[in-house]
């Protein structure tokens, strides 16, 4: 049986993946961004949405993935293998950091995770023999024609988006997801009913980080150049959390809705208000906090949609 959320997701993926067929490059680029941020927001959802831990380390893992991917490609590793390397390294690093950081709660966890972004950035800029320091790194780009390159990266990002979506479905239907929800609501009680809370949280943190690493590496290959300030941005870390909240954190479809909405709004703001884009996004964030604290998905618009869809199905069956 297909759930409404899955149907919407499949429709949306179809829309995104077919953009090269009918839309101009600019739209294809936006579709890549939508897929990329959906993957990040869906990843964040595991630790931030299900487990309720305010992780702000997203940009640290995206950046780490970019650097592992870029450095290995610069040193002769093939592109695909560099992505695999990035994924594995981020998985390992995040598990180790998770063991350390997840002893913290609330504000201290938030600070500990956000500091990783700064820390990684500083390391990337000062370890210049490997990372090129503040000058950044040039990555060999694909020598195909531009529209093929765009379609290729669109497909890869959409693949990641589907993977993270499936990861969310798997987690939420599994005892892991149930345990994380328990942890979110009452961590001590969760521990008392037999949940190994430390293990669960570390797994959640690792799952949240790993595919961010892949996204980072793919992004680096796509853009052809990375540097510390672009790769490790506090803005990115918060944007991903805001996207998940905007759509509805802790739900499967919420992060996709949030990321898509935010990216579209951001593109509009960029085009129309070049000087003031940051302030307008700031206002947007403030408004989300005040007026949409539970996300779009809880607004009821979807419920109406869902009912209509169910009605259609019933009609079809008849």
């Amino acid at each position: 049986m297909l759930k409404t959320a899955n149907i919407i997701f499949i429709l949306w993926v179809t829309v995104l993946i077919t953009t090269p067929l009918y839309a101009e490059n600019y739209i294809v680029r936006a579709a890549i961004m939508v897929a990329m941020f959906s993957s990040l927001a869906l990843s964040w959802n595991i630790i931030g949405g299900y487990a309720g831990y305010p992780s702000l380390a997203t940009a640290a893992f995206v950046g780490l993935g970019s650097y592992v991917g870029a450095v290995s490609q610069v040193n002769g590793v093939t592109m695909l293998f560099s992505w695999v390397l990035a994924t594995i390294s981020v998985g390992v690093v995040s598990s180790l950091l998770g063991v350390l950081l997840l002893r913290l709660r609330g504000h201290y966890f938030a600070i500990g995770s956000i500091v990783l972004v700064e820390l990684f950035r500083l390391i990337a800029s000062s370890w210049s023999s490997v990372t090129g320091g503040g000058n950044g790194l040039n990555i060999p780009i694909l020598r195909w024609d531009p529209s093929t390159v765009a379609s290729f990266f669109l497909s890869v990002m959409i693949l990641l988006m589907i993977l993270t979506y499936m990861m969310n479905i798997f987690v939420s239907n599994n005892r892991l997801g149930f345990g994380l929800k328990c942890i979110k609501q009452n961590e001590d009680a969760a521990n008392m009913v037999g949940i190994n809370t430390t293990l669960y949280k570390v797994i959640a943190f690792m799952l949240s980080a790993t595919l961010c690493g892949t996204v980072g590496a793919v992004y680096a290959s796509w853009s052809g150049y990375i540097d510390p300030t672009e790769s490790f941005q506090i803005v990115l870390t918060l944007k991903v959390a805001v996207m998940a909240m905007l759509g509805g954190a802790g739900t499967i479809l919420g992060p996709v809705i949030g990321a898509s909405t935010f990216v579209v709004l951001e593109e509009i703001v960029w085009v129309n208000f070049l000087d003031w884009n940051r302030a307008i996004l700031g206002i947007l964030i403030v408004m989300i906090i005040f007026f949409l604290p539970n996300g779009i998905i809880k607004l009821g618009i979807l419920r109406i949609f869902k009912e209509k869809l169910n009605q259609k199905f019933k009609d079809n069956i008849k």
């Binding site: 504000h107 938030a110 940051r278």
Partner: protein, 286 residues
Amino acid sequence: MEIFQIIVNGLALGALYACLAVGFSLVWGVLNVINMLHGTFVVFGGYLAYFCWSYLGLNPFLVIIPIGIILYLIGYFLQYYLNNRVIGAPVLTTLTLTFGLDMIVYNIMTVYFSATPRRIRLDLGSFEFAGVFMPADRLLGMVLAVILTAMLYYVMRFSNIGRAIVAVRMDRTAAELMGIRIKNIYSITFGIGALMAGLAGVIMVLIFPTTTSVAGAYLGKAFIVCVVGGLGSVPGAFIGGLALGLVESLAAQFIGPQNAPILGFLLLLFLLLVKPTGLIGVKGYE
């Protein structure tokens, strides 16, 4: 360089860090809010002083009071009309809200002040004593930072407002039952936090070139000082600041200035794991 010189540099830097972070610590400790605006407030205060100096020819020491008042009012009203609406919300909500506000203020600054590094050069010369060299503006900045921090301590310790703030920090419900108007206290505290940030910015612009892009770095310093010194306590922030200044000064000497900030963040992570309540000071609400 002589070890004595390194220590003096470290203490001078540390006093600045203390002054820079004490407002952040107060806001975190009392409101339980991680104020992402703090770094931007510092830069804003610095810019105001710079423009008063370069366009109006006003001595930065003269404009300290008006700048303090401006920052206090900005902080007070932001808290009163916006942040107070999410009191007691999870950290992600409050942190994201202050970050959204930060994006707005930051953008206003980049548009009106541009991103060029600014610095007030007073050309006061320098001192040398027992082989230790110290530029006069740096010494002046350090003294000013210590005075400001001491004044905040005095206000917190001996004024009615200060006692009310401490009471709210210790037990919000009890303070409310004693007739303290929590929302007002929160706004005053946030105002004081902004004021201290702005004045720290005035000192910073006397010593270091200031641009909007250093706001993040200043915020990072506030994080470290706060975790080292503990939340909401002025002496804690002071000692945290001195500790960070010394560590950075020593690190700059032995592992290179570009690596020194890394050590600060490692110190923060280490302390979070060993003693999340800070070396000194009281626990937050958690």
